[in-house]
C-alpha cells in the first residue's frame, strides 16, 4: 500500500522530468561536452561522499558539482549532473529498494533542470557561453544565488513529500524532522565550492579541479578520526573512573550505574540529546572527588567523626576543581559541584535552594541517592528496590526535586529500563 503510493509519486516525477526536459532542453545552445564529462566522472568518483565537517550537518559533496554543472551549462548541466549525483555505487551495492534509486534520479534531474532554467530566466549567462563576462555585477551574484536556492528548495520539497507519503507525518512534523535551517552553512560552502569548480572547468583546468577537491576528501578523513576520538573519550573516562573506584568494593560500579540511570532519566525528562550526554558525563565523574578521601574513612563501618564528615562533604568541591582544568569538561563542573545540594537549602557545599540548583544536578542527586540506598555499604546492607522508592518519595520536596523523583519512579516502572543491574 505504502509502496504503491510511492511508485505513483515516482512515476509522476518521471513524467514531469521528461516533459519539462523536452520543453526546456531543446532551446539550449550547444555546450562543449568535455567539461561536463569531467564533472560527471568526478561526481561518480566522489560517490555521494558526504562532507561531515564539524561545523554543520552533512551534505553531499556531489551538490557542489551539480551546482558547477548548472553554472557551466544551465538546465542541461543541472539535469546531467543531477542524474550523475543520484547514482551511488554504495546504494546499489547495499541493494537499496529500486523505487528509492528511481526517485532520487527523477527528483535530482528535475531540481537541477529547473535550477538551471531559473538561472537563465534571471538573466544569468552560462560559463560555457562566450559572452559570460558581459553580464552586470548584480546578475553575476543574483542569478547563481537564486539557482542555488531553487535547487535546494526543490530538493527539500521532493524529499519531504516522499517522507510524508512513507511515514504519514504532517507537513509541520516533516519540516521539523528535516530541519532545513541547519543546512545553510553547508549550503553556502558547497555553493562556493561549486562556483570555483565551474570556473576551473570553464578554463579546462582539470588539475586545478583535483587540487580544489582533494583538501575536502582529506578533511573528511580527519573528521572521521575526530568522531572516533570523541567516542573513545567517554569510553576512556568510564574505564578510568571504574579503575579508580575499584579500590573500594562498596563503591565499585557506582558511577557507571548512576551514569546509565542519569542518561535514561534526563532523556525521559525531555532534555536535548546534548544535555543527555552531559548528564551521562557528569554522572560518570560526580564522585571523582571522593577518590581523595582516605579509604579508611570511606569504608568505615562505624559512625564518622565530625572531622571525617567534613572531609567526605568536600568531595563535590574537589571533584569540581579536578574537572575545571579540562576545557572539554567545563560544562560538568556545576553539576558535579552541586549534586549534594538539597531543594530545601540544607545541602552542601553552597546550600543552594530549589531552582538555584542546576536542573541536571537535581537529576543526578535523585539517581545518586537511589543507587546509594540500594547498594551495600560497610555500615549497612543495601535497601530493597521498594524500600528505596518509598524513601525517595518521602524525601521528595525536601531533599530531592519532586518532579524528578516522579519521573524517576515512572522510569523504574518501565519494564524496558533495566533497573537491577548489580
Amino acid at each position: 500500500m505504502m509502496s504503491r503510493r510511492l511508485w505513483v509519486y515516482v512515476a509522476v516525477l518521471f513524467i514531469a522530468a521528461l516533459t519539462l526536459g523536452l520543453l526546456i532542453l531543446p532551446h539550449q545552445d550547444v555546450v562543449e561536452p568535455l567539461p561536463l564529462v569531467a564533472l560527471v566522472l568526478l561526481t561518480v568518483a566522489l560517490g555521494n561522499m558526504a562532507i561531515e565537517l564539524p561545523f554543520a550537518v552533512s551534505m553531499s559533496l556531489a551538490f557542489a558539482s551539480v551546482f558547477a554543472g548548472i553554472l557551466y551549462a544551465g538546465p542541461l548541466g543541472g539535469a546531467i549532473l543531477g542524474l550523475a549525483s543520484s547514482v551511488s555505487l554504495q546504494e546499489i551495492k547495499e541493494r537499496k529498494p529500486l523505487v528509492r534509486i528511481l526517485f532520487n534520479m527523477a527528483q535530482l534531474f528535475l531540481a537541477g533542470l529547473l535550477a538551471g532554467w531559473v538561472l537563465i530566466l534571471a538573466g544569468g549567462r552560462l560559463l560555457s557561453s562566450a559572452d559570460y563576462s558581459s553580464q552586470g555585477p548584480v546578475v553575476t551574484l543574483l542569478a547563481p544565488t537564486l539557482a542555488v536556492f531553487v535547487f535546494f528548495v526543490l530538493n527539500l520539497t521532493f524529499v519531504g513529500f516522499s517522507l510524508i507519503l512513507r511515514t504519514r507525518l504532517t507537513v509541520r512534523q516533516t519540516l521539523d524532522a528535516m530541519n532545513p535551517g541547519s543546512y545553510w552553512v553547508s549550503l553556502l560552502v558547497l555553493a562556493l565550492l561549486g562556483y570555483a569548480m565551474a570556473h576551473l572547468i570553464s578554463i579546462s583546468s582539470w588539475f586545478g579541479l583535483l587540487l580544489l577537491v582533494l583538501p575536502f576528501t582529506m578533511a573528511r578523513q580527519t573528521f572521521r578520526v575526530y568522531v572516533e576520538l570523541t567516542e573513545a573519550y567517554t569510553e576512556t573516562v568510564r574505564s578510568l573512573v571504574a579503575a579508580i573506584e575499584a579500590k573500594d568494593r562498596y563503591t565499585r560500579g557506582h558511577s557507571e550505574r548512576v551514569a546509565i540511570h542519569a542518561r535514561q532519566l534526563a532523556a525521559s525528562l525531555g532534555f536535548s540529546s546534548a544535555d543527555v550526554g552531559l548528564a551521562e558525563r557528569a554522572a560518570l565523574l560526580h564522585d571523582v572527588g571522593k577518590i581523595g578521601i582516605s579509604q579508611a574513612t570511606l569504608t568505615s563501618p562505624v559512625q564518622l567523626t565530625a572531622a571525617e564528615v567534613r572531609q567526605v562533604r568536600r568531595h563535590p568541591v574537589i571533584g569540581a576543581d579536578l574537572t575545571q582544568d579540562v576545557a572539554f569538561l567545563s560544562d560538568v563542573v556545576p553539576i558535579v559541584r552541586h549534586h549534594h545540594e538539597r531543594v530545601d537549602g540544607a545541602g552542601y557545599p553552597d546550600g543552594l535552594v530549589g531552582s538555584e540548583i542546576p536542573m541536571l544536578a537535581r537529576v543526578l542527586a535523585v539517581v545518586d541517592s537511589y543507587d546509594a540506598m540500594t547498594s551495600d555499604r560497610a555500615y549497612r546492607p543495601g535497601m530493597s528496590d521498594d524500600d528505596a522508592r518509598v524513601e525517595l518519595k518521602r524525601v521528595a520536596g525536601s531533599q530531592l526535586d519532586t518532579r524528578v523523583v516522579t519521573a524517576f519512579t515512572a522510569l523504574l516502572d518501565e519494564p524496558s529500563a533495566e533497573v537491577d543491574d548489580q
Partner: protein
C-alpha cells in the same frame, strides 16, 4: 590538597631567537628588494588588494593550529602565496607586516609575557620567510603574465608552495630549538606530521586561486580563504579534542593520586620530565603523546594496593586496565615494562617513563644531585642514555616541574 596549576610560561632564548629572526629578516628584506624591486611592476600601491590580503593574513593567524604538545602554530602560507602571486612584493610584505603588528599588539594586550613575545618574534619570522619566497615571485605570477595559461603553470606554483611550507616549518623548528626545544630535524618532524595536511590545503587552495585569478579576481581569493578557514577549523577541532583527551587523563591521574598524599603531583612531574626527555631523544609527536599518557597513568595499578610494594605487580595491573581502553591500548606495553627495563624489546618510551619516575621519587627523598648520582651509578645501556638527557634537562632547568 589541590593546588591550582597556573601555567607559567617564560620564553627562553629570547636573545638567540631575536638574532635569528633579525638575520632572517635581513635576508628576506634583501631578497624582496633585490628581486621584487627588479620587477619594476609597482605602478601604484594597490590598497584594495593589499587590504584584502591583510585581512586574510589576520584571520588565518587568528585560527592558529594548537598542537597536542601545546605549541601554537599560525599558518598563513595560502595568503602569502596568493599575495606574492598578484601583488608587488613590497605590497605583500607591507600587508603581512601590518597584520603581524596588529596580531602582536592584540596578544600583548591580552596577556603580556612569554607567549606574546614568542608571537611577535614569530610574526617577524613569517614576514621574513615571505620575503625570501618572493625571490620566486615570477613563477607565482605565471597565470597573470601568460596570455593563455594552461595547467602547467600550477606545477611551479605547487613547487614554490612546498618550498615555502618547508621553509616555514624549518624556521619554526629553528626558533623552537633556540627556545630550548628539540633539535631542528626533530622539530621539523614534530611539526610536519600533524600540520602536513594543513599545509597541503593551503598550497592547493593558493594554486586554485592563482589559476582562476585572471577570470575571477579577488572573488576567487575570498572564496578560497573561506574554504581554507573551514577546513583548518575542522583540523583544529580535531586537535582540540586530542588536547582535551590528554587534559582529561591528566585530571583523572590527579584524582587517582589523591588518597596517596606522598604521591601527590608525582604523575604530572614524571609526565613533564618524560616529554622533555622524549623530545630530546627524537621521539615522534605520536610517541610523545603515548609517553605522556603512560607517564600520567603509570601508577594506575597502585590504586587500592597502596601498601603493596611489589613493583612488577602494579605495573602489570596498570597495563591490564589500560589495555581495555580504546585509544590507550598502545601505551599498555609502556606501563607494563616501566619497572622491568632490562628485558629485550622494552620500548624506549617505557625506559623513559621508568627512569623519570625513579628520578622523581629519589629527588623527593634525597634531593636533585643525590638522585642523579644514584641513577648514573645504577642505570646501564639505553637507560644510561635516558639518564644523560635527564641530567641535561634538570641542570638546564628546561622542564620546570611544579612542586606539590
Amino acid at each position: 590538597m589541590i593546588a591550582a596549576r597556573v601555567p607559567r610560561h617564560r620564553e627562553r632564548g629570547v636573545l638567540a631567537q631575536s638574532v635569528f629572526v633579525f638575520v632572517l629578516a635581513v635576508i628576506g628584506g634583501g631578497v624582496a628588494l633585490g628581486f621584487g624591486g627588479g620587477l619594476g611592476q609597482l605602478r601604484s600601491f594597490d590598497y584594495l588588494s593589499a587590504g584584502a590580503f591583510a585581512a586574510a593574513f589576520f584571520v588565518l593567524r587568528l585560527l592558529a593550529l594548537k598542537l597536542p604538545q601545546g605549541d601554537e602554530v599560525p599558518i598563513s602560507v595560502m595568503a602569502g602565496l596568493c599575495a606574492l602571486g598578484v601583488l608587488h612584493a613590497t605590497e605583500a610584505l607591507a600587508a603581512a607586516a601590518v597584520v603581524g603588528l596588529l596580531d602582536s599588539a592584540v596578544r600583548f594586550a591580552q596577556a603580556p609575557g612569554g607567549r606574546a613575545v614568542r608571537r611577535a618574534l614569530d610574526t617577524v619570522r613569517g614576514v621574513a620567510v615571505l620575503g625570501v619566497v618572493s625571490a620566486f615571485q615570477p613563477l607565482l605570477q605565471l597565470p597573470l603574465t601568460l596570455d593563455q595559461p594552461g595547467d602547467e603553470v600550477l606545477i611551479p606554483i605547487v613547487l614554490v608552495g612546498l618550498g615555502y611550507a618547508l621553509l616555514d616549518v624549518a624556521t619554526v623548528a629553528i626558533q623552537e630549538w633556540l627556545a630550548g626545544g628539540a633539535n631542528v630535524m626533530q622539530g621539523v618532524q614534530l611539526l610536519v606530521r600533524p600540520l602536513g595536511s594543513v599545509y597541503l590545503v593551503h598550497i592547493a587552495m593558493a594554486a586554485v586561486v592563482l589559476r582562476v585569478y585572471p577570470a575571477l579576481g579577488l572573488w576567487a581569493f575570498g572564496i578560497a580563504v573561506l574554504m581554507t578557514l573551514i577546513l583548518q577549523n575542522s583540523f583544529n577541532l580535531y586537535l582540540r579534542i586530542r588536547r582535551a583527551y590528554g587534559d582529561t587523563i591528566e585530571a583523572l591521574a590527579h584524582a587517582a593520586e589523591l588518597d596517596r598524599p606522598q604521591d601527590a603531583g608525582h604523575a604530572q612531574r614524571v609526565a613533564d620530565l618524560a616529554i622533555a626527555v622524549g623530545r630530546r631523544m627524537a621521539l615522534t609527536s605520536h610517541e610523545l603523546e603515548h609517553v605522556r599518557y603512560a607517564a600520567l597513568l603509570h601508577d594506575l595499578g597502585r590504586i587500592g594496593h597502596a601498601d603493596d610494594e611489589d613493583e612488577a605487580a602494579h605495573a602489570a595491573r596498570g597495563a591490564e586496565i589500560v589495555e581495555g581502553i580504546p585509544f590507550l591500548e598502545p601505551i599498555s606495553p609502556l606501563i607494563a615494562h616501566h619497572h622491568s627495563l632490562d628485558a629485550p624489546g622494552t620500548p624506549l618510551g617505557a625506559a623513559i617513563v621508568g627512569v623519570c619516575s625513579r628520578y622523581d621519587r629519589l629527588r623527593m627523598q634525597h634531593g636533585v644531585s643525590a638522585a642523579l648520582e644514584t641513577l648514573k651509578a645504577g642505570e646501564v645501556g639505553r637507560r644510561a642514555g635516558v639518564v644523560r638527557e635527564l641530567e641535561r634537562i634538570v641542570t638546564a632547568g628546561i622542564a620546570e616541574v611544579t612542586m606539590p
